[in-house]
Amino acid sequence: MVKNVESRSTVKASKGQLSFGKVWPYEKAPESTDHFTIADRYGLFIDGEFVAPKSKEYFATSNPATEQPLAEIAHANDADVALAVQAAKRAAPAWRALSGEDRARYLYRIARILLERSREFACLETLDNGKPIRETRDVDVPLAAQHFFYHAGWADKLDLVYPGATALGVVGQVIPWNFPLLMAAWKIAPALATGNTVVLKPAESSPLSALRLCEVFQAAGLPRGVVNVITGDGRTGAALVQHKDLNKVAFTGSTEVGKQIQRSVAGRNVELTLELGGKAAHVVFEDAAMDQAIEGVVRGIFFNQGHVCCAGSRLLVQESVHDLFVEKLLLRMQRIRVGDPMDKNTDMGAIHSKEQLTRICELVSAGEREGATLHQADCQLPSKGYWFRPSVFTNVALSHRIAREEIFGPVLTVMTFRTPEEAVEKANNTSYGLSAGIWTDKGARILWLAERLRAGVVWNNTFNRFDPAAPFGGFQESGFGREGGRQGLRAYLKVPFALSPG
């Protein structure tokens, strides 16, 4: 059942609101794609070069906005995984022995080349992922380059913070499809800075930017085998994390798969960091600057089509302002421009895949069945591709599936609270703990609440801000370990006299 749920309550402009509706549509402003090419077929990046897979199997990656195939991608089997791990293992001693200063220089080069080719990366990412070009151009690509630049600076300063620490060795990394290039940067940059070598498996539905990143590594002259990228589906990922020669596994993805990985590395003395799902509470108090809070809530849930582990998917709004807030929110939602991701005016692009769209539809149907009220933007959706209207559920109970499970789509659930204590109680009523948001004009209350929320990142009077200098990661079933900041280095280092991993 892949269809958008017909909106039960379509948002219309109310009295006193200007709405040009469909009378004056935005002029099209598509980004051009003539400045780069996509190969018909990509091999695996092992030991510094692209090679055909031993499996001889390929699969297609396609543009979720058009359903057009973009390229054929190699499927790495166990033999391919073994070759990649061997290459990383061979490269490890020399890479570790290299001075921090030289490792830094490679990372600086990578950061520079990435920025130089930023437009190409932004377009490629948008084509392969379905997210708006405005986001890839302004967030994904510059932030990815910044991650390499930031960690370059750590490579020759590790002794300042972790005296006597050494690299772990070979790191296996498995990343999701929601921020393909950015996640690759989050994983690879700290691993290289700390002297580890890498085998990275990007998601099967969005591998193009990670493969192109390999061209950057080649251009930067990165020694062979220091980074290897193998493409494939869950089987490839499973083969990678089960490989006996890994010293560390880093995973970003669903909590369910994270638990499987924790089980599969058990007893092998493998370091593990997990960055898993979330169901963030976004708490709005009656004294919040309301229009700013609306923007924050919209940014929190509709950024990247809601395909964000730290998305502010549970809005908790103080009862006294609920009605007004929801009215304004629905109006604002109506203004979101959904459509061609390559268009520079687009706010929300395509749902990443058919599977994800099915899951979103399934959960939204459950929300309706359980008695919540669905509101959807009345926007025109393209006929091809995978799309879902920006959606808000009101009359939601804490027990509803839509209030408990990660939807990973542009669907917000709205609940209310009266007192700050109740906000804490409801916000923490989840097994996740990745992020949270707070909107209030009262500084003391922000700190009071932030202290009590079980979440690894708390955005106050803002939302969805990321920076390589700021540690990111979850409490509870949102995983463990941090990425970014001084704290993020720890998971890639072997420090003297530490406890052993499970």
Binding site: Q146, T255, G258, K259, Q260, Q262, R263, V265, A266, G267, R268, N269, L274, L276, S431, I446, A450, A455, G456, V457, V458, W459, N460, N461, T462, R465, D467, A469, A470, P471, F472, G473, F475, Q476, E477, S478, G479, F480, R482, G485, R486, Q487, R490, V495, F497, A498, L499, S500, P501, G502
Partner: protein, 282 residues
């Protein structure tokens, strides 16, 4: 001649000294003449409930107060050192070694007493982020942490594993050395008189082969510190709620070097880094 009053070795849960709900007991291999209460899975569940309550009170105490309570722990260890030495001697530790172990335990408690109010500056940070934002990272306890203590040294081993967990504001449910539980159970009396909020630390005695797996699979335990080599079955069970799992595979002899036990790296696995952001504007 007056007949001596003998002690019953009971559990320490929620600040009280209950027997096991199972009414079982066992004879530890190092002290055959003594019956010790043998905790059950239900006792573990009760202890986790108590720890959840204790954790709230313990972690919301100021760092200064936590330091004072840990210092009080050192004071109580000192005043009871003779009794603790006797408990150790019961399980075959020589007098000289028992004394050394108790002194090392006191030294360790003192080191940790000074740590709670340093942790934020050691592990937290202000983050130089782009844009008009103030960003900082604080550290918080993971919550309730299970500790499976080493068989030997039974007293120092228990403290060496519990203190790095406690210091950041976690509550502990610990399983004592199976073969020599007397001294670590007697620690309950020390904890009980050191002003820890009830439930901050809970001590169970019993069979490791029976209880360790229940520590691992309990959904309301957030972390697990296990003495011994990494054990795949334990870690696998712990994955059900994404527990933070660490193993301490120090050989017994290594515990003699107290400096080896004073490590921030033992504290780190059971704290959570929380990053806050706020706009900077007029």
């Amino acid at each position: 001649m007056t007949l001596p009053v003998k002690k019953t070795y009971k559990l320490f849960v929620g600040g009280k000294f209950p027997r096991s709900e199972s009414a079982r007991s066992y004879q530890p291999s190092e002290t055959k003449h003594i019956h010790v209460t043998r905790g059950s899975r239900k006792d573990l569940r009760d202890a986790v409930l108590a720890a959840r309550i204790g954790q709230k009170a313990w972690s919301s105490s100021s760092a200064y107060l936590r330091g004072q309570i840990l210092y009080r722990l050192a004071e109580m260890l000192e005043t009871r050192s003779a009794a603790l030495c006797e408990e150790l001697a019961q399980s075959g530790v020589t007098k000289a070694n028992a004394k050394r172990e108790v002194l090392a335990s006191i030294a360790l408690a003192i080191w940790y007493a000074g740590l709670p109010d340093k942790l934020q500056s050691l592990l937290g940070s202000q983050n130089a982020v782009q844009g008009p934002f103030f960003s900082f990272s604080t550290i918080e306890p993971s919550g309730v942490v299970g500790v499976i203590a080493p068989e030997t040294p039974s007293l120092l081993g228990m403290l060496a594993l519990c203190l790095p967990v406690l210091v950041s504001g976690n509550a502990v449910v610990a399983l004592c050395s199976e073969s020599a539980p007397c001294a670590s159970l007697a620690l309950g009396e020390v904890f009980a008189t050191s002003d820890f909020p009830g439930g901050t630390i809970n001590l169970l005695a019993g069979l490791r082969s029976e209880l360790a797996i229940h520590f691992a699979s309990h959904r309301d335990i957030d972390g697990l510190l296990v003495a011994g080599k990494p054990d795949a079955l334990i870690t696998q069970a712990a994955a059900d709620n994404v527990k933070r799992v660490r193993y301490c595979d120090l050989p017994a002899a290594a515990f003699r070097d107290v400096s080896r036990l004073r490590s921030l790296h033992w504290v780190e696995p059971f704290v959570e880094v929380k990053t806050l952001w706020h706009p900077v504007a007029q």
